[in-house]
């Protein structure tokens, strides 16, 4: 299934700069398989939640138009080194993935 996502979390001034690279095919449901000619069904991350020390800081809803192996960057003011970051996603099949990181 999905490979683990990678999270980079560093302090920049008084905000934590969080960068996430997820692994997901983000299939649009419009592409035809080159070999079979059949349409490949849509398979994409629909919701993402990012938490800082257990508090949700970002909740995202995505369409299949987000790129394959999605990248997400956001910033959290008032964070500090040592804070715990968690990012989780759920896709349209109900598959999930989650990863943790510590702000450097």
């Amino acid at each position: 299934m999905a490979e683990p996502m990678k999270i980079r979390a560093t302090m920049e001034g008084d905000a934590a700069n969080i960068k996430v690279l997820m692994n997901h095919v983000m299939e649009t449901g419009q592409r035809k398989d080159a070999k079979t000619g059949q349409v490949v069904p849509a398979h994409f991350i629909q919701t993402v939640i990012a938490q800082m020390n257990g508090k949700p800081v970002l909740e995202a809803q995505w369409s299949q138009a987000v790129s394959k192996n999605p990248f997400l960057g956001f910033k959290v003011k008032g964070a500090k080194a040592g804070d715990k970051v968690n990012v989780s996603w759920v896709d349209n099949h109900g598959d999930k993935n989650s990863a943790d990181a510590v702000v450097a």
Binding site: E3, K6, R8, K19, L21, N23, S67, K68, N69, F71
Partner: protein, 276 residues
């Protein structure tokens, strides 16, 4: 007479050809001067960015994506391949000097005992064979491509350092150079047509990249997720000019890569990179 000769030489240089009796280092300097003349604002190390240098909008997208490239998990796969021991317990790192770090810039080199050019990919296969494993096909992007995308990255930052010493090495270098300047295919283009003569111009909506800097950044993830080795790219380019490609891992491409890499001596390597 001398003036005429110089003028003629100048004309020859204008068309980007290299004098037949020059040493490899003279060739390299001549090409460097040619490009410097065409692009006075480009710094030497910039050449690793290829055609992106001609398009700041594209270069900006490249840097943005390279911060955290989408092929990251493919690199992890390559790392696993590199670190997995062979059946006999040995590892790739045991085959290479310095555990495989900071040495890819020495390839290709001319092996006197074998009497031929040896590429990094051939060295990988020699390692596999010596340790009882099957060799990877040179056009097998799934294995050779993925493995070298990681393995070569252990030499990131290393300056290309190709040596051409001795008459046999020189002969192989000259073969590679000849290939580079040889017109081929229905379009009757040589590598040099696009990458020397027409460099910086646009062909079929794409800027043409200089040959200087080419060899420093392979394999590439083209279109984001399709790993492509340099020799696989040779085949693609040759097909683009409607010619029959040669075999990856064959002598033609090995000699070409020898020449092609030599002219990028001194440039810092980076593997892999993202290209559209």
């Amino acid at each position: 007479m001398k003036k005429l000769l110089t003028a003629l030489l100048g004309t020859v240089l204008l068309f980007g050809a290299l004098a037949a009796n020059a040493t490899p280092e003279q060739d390299r300097k001549q090409l460097l001067d040619y490009y410097k003349n065409k692009f006075p604002n480009l710094k030497f190390n910039d050449y690793v960015n290829g055609a992106l240098n001609f398009n700041p909008d594209a270069l900006s997208q490249y840097f943005s994506i390279m911060e955290f490239p989408p092929y990251d998990s493919e690199l992890d796969k390559g790392k696993k391949m590199w670190e997995a021991p062979f059946k006999n317990g040995k590892k790739y790192a045991d085959c290479f000097p310095n555990g495989g770090k900071n040495m890819a810039g020495n390839y290709p080199y001319f092996d006197e005992s074998l009497g031929k050019v040896v590429t990094y990919e051939m060295a990988i296969n020699s390692c596999r064979k010596a340790n009882g494993e099957g060799e990877f096909a040179y056009n097998d992007m799934h294995n050779m491509g993925t493995l070298t995308a990681y393995a070569r990255s252990l030499s990131d930052g290393m300056k290309m350092n190709i040596r051409v010493e001795g008459p046999k090495a020189l002969a192989a270098y000259e073969k590679g150079k000849e290939f580079f300047y040889q017109r081929r295919g229905q379009l009757n283009f040589a590598c040099s047509t696009c990458h020397v003569q027409q460099v910086g111009n646009i062909l079929r909506t794409e800027y043409l990249s200089p040959a200087l800097g080419h060899a420093a950044h392979w394999p590439e993830f083209r279109g984001g997720d399709t790993v492509t080795t340099l020799q696989a790219r040779y085949s693609q380019c040759i097909k683009n000019v409607r010619a029959q490609p040669f075999k990856e891992g064959g002598q033609e491409y090995n000699d070409l890569e020898y020449f092609h890499s030599f002219i990028s001596n001194g440039l810092p390597m980076q593997t892999p990179v993202f290209r559209k």
